[in-house]
């Protein structure tokens, strides 16, 4: 996500609005934003409802066995249609900002 923050101007020029989502509570996300200097939107899904809707649930994947999201990225256009997506198999390997920008550019 550091890559996303650093490339925010490029994302903006592509008309892309990054939105991060996890089961973390708003306070936890706000702490993270302040600590890391993230300025984009962070949403909280503590019951993993949306995460479940998107079929991204990682049951008991968190500490103390909490249900969390598996890592995944989606580009969703104004009609709410998915135009690009990525499901990470290795939790340590996330798409880099330039890969995300390339995906964004491929949307007319």
């Amino acid at each position: 996500m550091r890559g996303i923050e650093k490339s925010l101007p490029e994302f903006a020029s592509q008309g892309i609005l990054p939105v991060a989502i996890s089961v973390d509570a708003p306070e936890v996300s706000e702490n993270l934003r302040r600590k890391r200097g993230y300025t984009f939107v962070f949403l909280s899904d503590p019951e993993a409802e949306v995460i479940r809707h998107y079929e991204l649930l990682h049951p008991r994947g968190g500490p103390d066995g909490t249900d969390i999201s598996r890592p995944a990225e989606f580009l969703v256009d104004r009609s709410g249609t998915v135009r690009w997506e990525n499901f990470t198999e290795d939790v340590r390997v996330r798409p880099r900002a330039d890969e995300l920008l390339a995906a964004a550019r491929s949307i007319p």
Binding site: V19, E27, S44, H53, T81, R92
Partner: protein, 158 residues
């Protein structure tokens, strides 16, 4: 009669650095698994970590061979064995982390596909305000509504 010492008694045996260099490499390999969590680009890390640890283990094996098989030249069987034991611990950790972290948590076969419309949702942002997908899509990036949202689902930090 002169008491002659054999050549082996008077040869000065030397230390080999191999067990410790190998241990260092293996330890670095194991510890490098933590790099992505502090912001280091994660893509090459899994393989680099494992290869580093295996290389270190190889160097330790060379060291063991030196102290046990070439014991006339090298000394340090005990320290070499200790280094090898520690190396095995790090190597085991490296391998465990490599396989464990690759675990794919969910099938996600029914996740939204490209071309599918996603359901709207409303969630609180980090200040507690409720925000909906629709609101975000009709908001603005620069001076215009966004072309698309980049939804980044992540595991969460704790």
């Amino acid at each position: 009669m002169l008491n002659c010492h054999s050549m082996a008694d008077t040869t000065i045996r030397k230390h080999t650095l191999a067990p410790w260099v190998g241990l260092l490499l293996t330890a670095l390999g194991a510890l490098s698994n933590g790099l992505p969590f502090i912001g280091f680009p994660a893509a090459p890390v899994p393989w680099i970590s494992l290869l580093l640890s295996l290389a270190g283990f190889g160097v330790v094996l060379i060291g063991l061979w030196q102290v046990f098989r070439q014991s006339r030249i090298y000394k340090g069987k005990v320290s070499g064995s200790i280094a090898a034991a520690l190396c095995l611990l790090f190597l085991a950790g490296s391998i465990a982390f490599f396989w464990g972290a690759r675990h794919i948590p969910a099938e996600s076969a029914n996740a939204p596909q490209v071309g599918q419309r996603v359901p709207d949702f409303t969630l609180p942002d980090s200040t507690g305000h409720s925000v909906s997908l629709t609101q975000l899509l009709s908001g603005s990036v620069g001076n215009e509504p966004p072309k698309a949202l980049l939804l980044v689902f992540y595991r969460g930090y704790w």
